[in-house]
């Protein structure tokens, strides 16, 4: 691991830097499911006994910041991928609390130079503090 990346990891990983609440609007989550082509009733029918948001719905939600305010700018960041981890169903009609931290920082070196990957994790909790899901946004920054 490069020394500068080690320093960044030491300083920023697992330090929460943002918190925001999100209302799970049933009309929105149903439409989201429909547009994705979902066919399972538990995502489309609000009267279903196991009515829930589509598993990847949370990936469309963003906190107020995706990086700590003092995080260094290496270059232009691009969306490199998204990951979702589902721990418990997310119920439409509920309000979630989302807390963001940096989950990983690493590099890959290619022909065009070093690229820095930053994984920002948004953790979602229900009104009782139950951890429901994680949404990871991976950005790649090609150094100037």
């Amino acid at each position: 691991m490069d020394a500068d990346i080690d320093e960044l990891r030491e300083k920023y990983l697992n330090q929460p830097f943002d918190e925001k609440t999100f209302y799970m609007d049933p009309a929105v989550t149903i439409e989201y499911a429909r547009l994705c082509g979902e066919t399972a009733g538990r995502f489309l029918d609000r009267d279903h006994p196991d009515f829930q948001t589509p598993p990847t719905y949370i990936a469309s939600l963003s906190g107020r910041r995706s990086l700590p305010i003092d995080f260094p700018r290496f270059g232009i960041g691009m969306d490199a991928g998204k990951g979702v981890e589902c721990l418990n169903p997310v119920r439409p009609g509920s309000t979630l609390t989302g807390r963001t931290h940096l989950h990983d920082i690493y590099t890959k070196t290619g022909r065009s130079g070093r690229m820095v990957f930053v994984v920002s994790r948004l953790e979602f909790f229900d009104e009782n503090g139950l951890h429901l899901a994680n949404s990871d946004s991976r950005s790649v920054i090609r150094e100037k």
């Binding site: 929105v28 439409e31 989201y32 499911a33 547009l35 994705c36 082509g37 979902e38 066919t39 399972a40 995502f43 589509p54 598993p55 990847t56 990936a59 469309s60 969306d79 490199a80 991928g81 998204k82 990951g83 979702v84 981890e85 589902c86 990871d136």
Partner: protein, 141 residues
Amino acid sequence: MTISKTISKIMDVEFGANLPAFEPDTSLEIVKTFATLIGWDGARFRDHEAARKEGLAGAMVPGVLSQGYLVAMIHQWAPMAEIKAIDTVFRAPVIADEPHSITGVVTDINEDEGLVEIDLTVANEKGETRVFGTASVSLPA
């Protein structure tokens, strides 16, 4: 090997099985509606000409919509499947109004834990991979 029947239990899953073909609706109308729904206002999701001015081949499908297509395919194959995790890499833009196909292959089965691993791909008509990823899903015993 392509499975056409619906899967309801993990014992019905075969290693190496292809999930049934899934052709997502990538029409610009769907993409625009989706972008509006999630509050993504960028012209690149709404207008081919505006997207071309940004250097794209046309209006693009948001990555989270591609991810949603992948999950929808899994639920079409196994309606009771619970997504435990899905990780996707956006390798290249998925262009709206262009036909794409989605494929899935069962790469691991853990009957003790009730988990199945699936490799996922979104490809365009030329067979070029635009999005790929992996999902871990649980199924009843």
